[in-house]
Symmetry: C2
Subunit: 469 residues, 2 copies
C-alpha cells in the first residue's frame, strides 16, 4: 500500500476495546466474514458481467477526455460557473470543490484556479434572488451547467427555465447557446430534446448509474475540471481502490468491513451512523455520504405479507465543532450510534499558535504547538472519550486531502453501499418512495394529469385552526 | 395574534391523520396536557424567582444598549468582522446572519449592510490558513470578536493567540488593542484577565446562561447589530413570545406542545427529531437547534443503581434539497423519526419561472408560476407523502423571515428545551460528558497536570496494524 492510499481503522469497534455488550467479538467477526465474503463474490460477478455500470466509470477513458476537452474550452472564457442540479447532480460537485479547493476560493481571486463556482441545489427564491442580483452585470462572463438525467426534475427545470429566460432576454439567443451546457441522458428525455432543438453543448449522464453513484462521471467531474481539480488523479484513486474492494479476503477489503460492521450494528439496534470529519473541507463529503447511504439503504420490503422497514440513518457531524454541540448526547445519550471519523494527517496549511500573554499563563501549553496538532489531538481525545462510554468508532485516515485519496474514498463508499444493500437483501439502486412527493408537487402546481391527486391533497393545504397555536 | 407572529401547526401528529399506531389520540393529548401543565407552572416559578437567567435576557435593557453602542462605534470603521468562538459562541451568530442577511452578503458589496462577517468555529488549518491568506492586506480593516465565557476553550484560545500574534507582529500594540473585542465573563476568567491587562474593549457573556441559551445576549447580538440586523426587533419578538410560552393552558402554549409531543414520541420509540426548513436561510437554525436539543437533553442518570441513557437525537435536513437525499429513507425506513418543518409564507424575493421551449411542452405546468410557489408546494407535497406512511409531522409557520419572528422562534425553542428536560426529569443546563474529551486534549497537548491522562490515552494514539486495512 502506498502512503497516499486511504486506510480504514476499526479497532475501536472490537469487544477488546468497548466490551462484549457493545463491541464485536472475534467470533462475531468470523461470522461477519462468512456472511460477507459470498456477497463480495456476488458483487464482483455483477461487475464482471456488466451489471454495475457505476463500477466501470473510472475505467472509461471517454469520460475524462470529453470532460477535459469541454472544460479547457470554457475555463478561460468565463469568470463564473453555475451548476444547476439537485441530489446526486449537486452533492458530489459541492463535496469535491470544498475538499480540494481553498475555503476562500470564490472570494479571493488569488486563490482561485478557475472561475468562481456556485452550485444551486434548491429552489429558494431568496438564495437564488440574491445570486441573480449579484450576477447582474456579470451575466456575460458566466457559464451555466444544467444537470439532470431526464430534465423533468421540477427544481432543476425551474432553475433552468429562469436562467434560459434571463439569458434570452438580456443577451439574446447566440449568447444563450454559448453559455449553457446540458449534462443529461445521451439519447432521450426533456433536457436532451431541448439541447438538440436549441443547439446546446452537452455532456452525458451515464446509463444505468443512479445520481448518487454518478460523481465520477461527467456529472461530478466537469465542474471539478473547470475549477482546476486534477480529475485524472481522482479516477486513478478509484481504479487503485477497485482492487482493494474486490478482494474476497474480508480482512483485506475496507468496503466489506464497513458494510459488515454497519450491518452487524443495525441488527444490534445501533441504527444511526455518524460521519464526522475532522476537516471543514471534508464536511460536505458527509452530505454526499448522507444521500448515498439513506437513499440506497432506506427501503421497505414485503416479508410474508407484512411490511419490513429497513434503513440505517446517516448523520453528519463536524469535528471539533460538534464536540461543543453533539458529543454530550453521543456520550451520555442512548448507545444507538456508530461513528465514522475522517482524519487528515497532513493539511496543506499549518499555523503555529502564538505565545499567550503573561496574564494567561494557563494557556502556555498551546504555545509552540500548531492548529493541526490541536485538531488531531481533539479527534483522538473525542474518540477516547466515546470508547470510555462503549460507543463504537471507526476512522478513515487520509495522508492528505488530494484528488487521488478522494477518488479512493468515493469508490470505497459506493462499494460499501452496494455490499450493505446485499447484506440487508434490498435493492440499493432504486428510490421508489420519492415518487409520491413528486406527483403531489405536480398536482399542487396544476400539472395536467394529476387532478385526482390534487383532490386528495386538497384537505392538507390550509392549516386546520384546531391544531394551530 | 398578529400576522407577523410565528405559529405552530401540529395536526399531522394526530391519530386522525396518521392512525392510532403512530399518531396521538385525543385521550393521549389529554394525558400530555395533564403531564405538561404542572411543568409549565414549575418553569414559570423558576423564571419568577430568578433561577432562569436566559429567560430574562430579552427584558434586560442594558444588553441592546451596550451592544448597539459598541456596534455603532466600529460599524463604519471596518470592512470585516471576524467572530472567533465555538458551539454556543458561534451557532447563533451564524444562524442570524444567514437567515436575515442576503445569501451573497460577503461577496456583493451592494448587498452588504455592514462589514463582511466571518465566524470561525473550528481549528481547521486549511480553512483558517486560506482565510489568513486572503486577509493579508485587509488586516487593518478587520475587527476580531473573541467569544468565550472562560477564555480557556482550547479552540477559541488557539484562534485568539494566532490572531493576537499576527496583529502584534504586523500592526503593533495600539492596533491590536483597537481591533480586538472580547466577549467574556464580566468579572473573572482567562479572557477577562487578558482583556483587563491589555486594555481590550469587552462585551459580556451573562452569568448563569449556558452557551446554547446565549444568542439573545451580547454573544449573538453583537455581530448581528454590526451587520445591520435590527436587534431590537429580535428582542421584541422574544418578549412577545414570553407570554405565549408562559401560558399554563397547554393548548395555547407552543413550547409546551413541542415538548409534550417530543416526549410522547420518545417514549414510543421515535427518538430522532428532524428539523427541515424549506428555506436555505433558515438551514443554520437547524444547526443551532441541534446543539440546543442534543447538549441539553442527552443525559445519563442513575435509576436505582443502574444507568439510564436519555436523549432524542436532533437531525438537520433541508427542503427541497433533501427530498432528493433523505426522503426515501424518511418514508420507507423505520418509523422512528418525527419531523419539524419550517415554512415561510412570504420570501423577500420571488422569481417567475420562464416559459419552456416548444421542445419541452411537458414543462408547461411550471410556466407562470414562481420559485416560491414551487418551494412551498414541495413542502406540502413532502409532508403529504410522509403522512401517507404514518410519519408524524409538525410545522413552524413564518409569515416572513424577519428579526421579530426569529426572536420568537429562538425563545420558543429555548423554552421547549427547558420543558422537555423537565418531562424527562433531567437537568438541561449542564454538559458533564464534554469534560473528558477536553481533558484528553489537554493531555495530548502536554498541558501540565494531565500526565496521568496522557498515559491512559497513549495506547490509542497509534493505529494497531491488526485493525488497519
Amino acid at each position: 500500500m502506498a502512503e497516499s492510499d486511504i486506510r480504514l481503522y476499526y479497532k475501536n469497534v472490537s469487544a477488546d476495546i468497548i466490551g462484549e455488550n457493545h463491541g464485536i467479538t472475534k467470533q462475531q467477526f468470523k461470522q461477519l466474514d462468512e456472511l460477507t465474503s459470498p456477497v463480495i463474490f456476488e458483487l464482483n460477478e455483477e461487475k464482471n458481467s456488466g451489471e454495475l455500470p457505476y463500477r466501470d466509470l473510472p475505467f472509461n477513458k471517454e469520460i475524462p477526455k470529453r470532460v477535459k476537452a469541454l472544460a479547457a474550452n470554457i475555463r478561460d472564457k468565463c469568470e463564473n460557473l453555475v451548476v444547476l442540479g439537485i441530489g446526486g447532480s449537486a452533492l458530489g460537485n459541492i463535496a469535491l470543490q470544498s475538499a480540494l479547493n481553498s475555503y476562500m476560493y470564490n472570494l479571493d481571486d488569488k486563490q482561485r484556479k478557475g472561475p468562481r463556482l456556485f452550485v444551486f441545489d434548491n429552489v429558494d427564491p431568496d438564495q437564488f434572488g440574491s445570486f441573480l442580483d449579484w450576477l447582474d452585470d456579470r451575466l456575460e462572463n458566466t457559464i451555466f451547467n444544467v444537470v439532470s438525467k431526464s430534465g423533468r426534475t421540477a427544481e432543476t427545470a425551474a432553475q433552468f427555465l429562469i436562467i434560459r429566460q434571463l439569458l434570452l432576454d438580456r443577451l439574446g439567443e447566440p449568447a444563450y447557446k454559448k453559455q449553457v451546457i446540458a449534462t443529461t441522458d445521451r439519447n432521450k428525455g426533456t433536457l436532451r430534446n431541448i439541447a438538440s432543438a436549441e443547439g446546446l453543448a452537452t455532456l452525458e449522464v451515464p446509463d444505468g448509474v443512479g445520481g448518487r453513484f454518478s460523481v465520477l462521471s461527467d456529472v461530478g467531474l466537469f465542474s471539478a475540471a473547470v475549477c482546476g481539480i486534477e480529475i485524472d488523479q481522482l479516477l486513478e484513486g478509484a481504479r487503485q481502490m477497485d482492487a482493494r474492494i474486490s478482494s474476497e479476503d474480508f480482512y483485506e477489503n475496507p468496503a466489506a468491513i464497513i458494510a459488515a460492521i454497519n450491518y452487524h450494528y443495525y441488527q444490534q439496534g445501533k441504527r444511526y451512523s455518524v460521519m464526522m470529519p475532522y476537516s471543514n473541507g471534508l464536511y460536505n463529503f458527509a452530505d454526499w455520504y448522507r444521500q448515498l447511504w439513506a437513499e440506497s439503504l432506506g427501503k421497505t420490503y414485503d416479508l410474508q405479507g407484512s411490511e419490513v422497514h429497513i434503513g440505517p440513518t446517516p448523520i453528519k457531524a463536524l469535528g471539533t465543532t460538534d464536540q461543543h454541540s453533539q458529543v454530550q448526547l453521543y456520550r451520555e445519550g442512548p448507545n444507538d450510534k456508530i461513528f465514522m471519523f475522517l482524519q487528515v494527517k497532513n493539511f496543506k496549511h499549518d499555523i503555529p499558535i502564538g505565545q499567550p500573554p503573561q496574564s494567561a499563563k494557563e494557556l502556555g501549553y498551546l504555545s509552540g504547538k500548531t492548529m493541526a496538532q490541536l485538531l488531531n489531538s481533539e479527534k483522538v481525545a473525542t474518540e477516547y472519550a466515546l470508547i470510555q462510554d462503549k460507543r463504537p468508532c471507526m476512522t478513515v485516515l487520509f495522508e492528505k486531502v488530494e484528488p487521488y485519496a478522494l477518488g479512493q474514498f468515493i469508490y470505497m463508499y459506493e462499494a460499501a453501499t452496494s455490499l450493505t444493500g446485499k447484506l440487508f437483501n434490498i435493492n440499493p439502486y432504486d428510490q421508489p418512495a420519492v415518487e409520491l412527493g413528486k406527483e403531489a408537487t405536480f398536482a399542487l402546481m396544476d400539472r395536467p394529469g394529476f387532478e385526482e391527486m390534487a383532490q386528495n391533497i386538497q384537505p392538507f393545504i390550509k392549516p386546520d385552526k384546531d391544531y394551530l397555536v
